[in-house]
């Protein structure tokens, strides 16, 4: 084991020990402020077996992950093509960019009340807010990706008379690929933040709903469980995206490995 991971493990072990000592035998921290490991375990048991905030834990998780993935896909599906188009055509950029600059300063979370006004507390409002949140990073990074392609590559393709479809598939998307994925990663993060916020403001199911109910119930153990789930599933979806990135961009390593 490397020195780094050894110290890391030691830190986490020490932290866990301090947590246990401070909350249970020594009672430095009142249980109303921060849960003990036992409280967290009991809360976890309650939400997985008997349910909390209208549902069982797996239902809340499925609901949230489902909405994040849906919203993210809608945002990526519209944002990446728009970014590519704006990078591709100076006319499209000149037409769309000012409107984009007009809307961009409004932070995604500020769309939540409007989304609730328009679509209520259901899933449609959440998808709309995630869409607005995750759209911007996808557009900006795809745009930058196209703009960073070497002009020589484009000229060569033109000279060889590459048809438009092939150009998009074989030059544009691969060359802008790394930047597109940077944008998608930011989009995914934004999706999670927005969903949790939207569910905290008003929802029927979801991890944010657990947090919301736990907050009103003054239930620190359950707050801890909700936060841990947000972190774990945020991390997991990021890993999945990173896996997709390595697979679809494997040509980069191939190209670099060649002499």
């Amino acid at each position: 084991m490397s020195r780094r991971s050894a110290i890391g493990l030691a830190t986490i072990a020490a932290l866990a020990l301090v947590w246990y000592l401070a909350t249970m035998p020594l009672e430095w921290i009142s249980p109303g402020r921060f849960p003990s490991p036992l409280d967290v375990w009991l809360a976890l048991q309650q939400v997985t077996l008997t349910g909390y905030a209208n549902g069982l834990l797996y239902q809340h998780i499925l609901h949230s992950v489902n909405l994040v993935v849906l919203g993210f896909l809608v945002a990526a599906g519209t944002g990446v093509p728009l970014g590519l188009l704006m990078g591709w055509s100076a006319r499209a950029e000149a037409l769309i960019n000012p409107v984009f600059l007009l809307i961009r300063p409004i932070p995604p979370l500020a769309w939540i009340p409007l989304a609730i006004l328009w679509l209520g507390l259901g899933d449609a409002a959440k998808i709309m807010v995630i869409w607005f949140a995750a759209f911007v990073p996808s557009v900006i990074n795809s745009f930058t990706g196209v703009r960073s392609i070497e002009p020589a590559v484009i000229e060569a393709a033109r000279m060889l008379g590459t048809p438009r479809g092939r150009f998009v598939r074989e030059i544009l998307i691969p060359a802008a690929g790394p930047m597109i994925f940077t944008g998608l990663r930011l989009s995914l993060q934004a999706s999670w933040t927005t969903l949790v916020a939207a569910e905290l403001v008003g929802a029927i199911y979801g991890l944010g709903k657990i947090l919301n109910v736990a907050q009103t119930d003054l239930y620190p153990g359950m707050i801890f469980v909700g936060m841990a789930c947000v972190a774990i599933f945020g991390w997991a979806t990021t890993r999945v995206l990173a896996g997709i990135e390595t697979r679809s961009l494997s040509w980069i390593q191939l190209a670099e490995a060649r002499p």
Partner: protein, 263 residues
């Protein structure tokens, strides 16, 4: 086919297309609203929103005028952002210099980073209440990570010769951090401040939507409960304007740093 970048537009063409884009945007908005395709209650026309915006500057809504709500939001933002910078930057520099500290803090930091700042709301309310303390923790949770990461990266990428020269001259740890690492990583730190201001401002709005009794986010929730779309939209515009002002200020700081040759 259209060439990329090889195709250049004249200044007037760009300006005309830009104006056309903005007009198209407001045109579609007005059309949807005035034709009744979208119920008027949900989508007021642009001029009605502008009128409401001006009205809100004079008449109080949810206990205060728009600028009073903005002022209390801005104050919270300033506290949380400064706290994030004051802890994040020194800690990042220290982690960049002392390897042990890096190895101890990194696992904790990486674990906490995956918690969206907004998910701290319940604990923030439990620990610090919903007045000013709670929202400050949320802003801090948004603003702290970019400060730390950029200071750390800046410190790690300081050219070796600079550090070696300082060490050869017998400079102590503290002086190396303050006089070598800090100036050499200023550009990275300022870039981090911009990201962190954006995230902090956005986290604050989220926090105010959920727990607060003043502030522009609180005002939006009240307007939403009243089903007053023009008020919600006015608040969104105000939030956008303040966010823009913060970004412009930090951009100016970035430019000033570059001019002074610190970058």
């Amino acid at each position: 086919m259209n060439a990329l970048r090889l195709q250049t537009l004249s200044r007037t063409e760009t300006a005309l297309l830009g104006v056309a884009g903005v007009l198209l945007f407001f045109g579609i908005w007005s059309f949807l609203s005035l034709s009744g395709l979208v119920p008027h209650q949900f989508l007021p026309a642009p001029y009605e929103v502008a009128g409401r915006f001006i009205e809100l500057l004079g008449t109080p809504f949810a206990g205060a005028t728009l600028q009073e709500h903005l002022a209390s939001s801005a104050l919270r933002f300033a506290y949380g952002f400064l706290l994030g910078a004051a802890i994040g930057i020194p800690l990042g520099l220290l982690m960049g210099w002392f390897r042990v500290l890096d190895e101890i803090v990194s696992p904790i930091f990486d674990g906490l980073r995956f918690i969206a700042p907004i998910a701290w709301v319940p604990f923030a309310a439990l620990w610090f209440g919903t007045g000013i303390g709670g929202p400050i923790l949320i802003i801090f949770a948004g603003a702290f990570p970019p400060c730390l990461i950029n200071a750390y990266r800046g410190a790690r990428f300081v050219p070796r010769p600079l550090i070696e020269a300082a060490q050869m001259l017998g400079t102590g740890n503290l002086r190396i951090i303050v006089e070598v690492l800090l100036p050499a990583s200023t550009a990275s730190i300022v870039a981090g401040l911009r990201v962190s201001a954006g995230l902090g401002w956005q986290s604050l709005i989220g926090a105010e939507l959920i727990v607060a009794s003043t502030g522009v986010g609180f005002m939006m929730v009240q307007a939403q409960l009243d089903a007053s779309t023009p008020t919600v939209m006015s608040a969104m515009i105000a939030i956008g304007l303040v966010g823009l002002a913060i970004d412009v200020a930090l951009r100016a700081l970035e430019a000033a740093v570059r001019r002074r040759g610190l970058a």
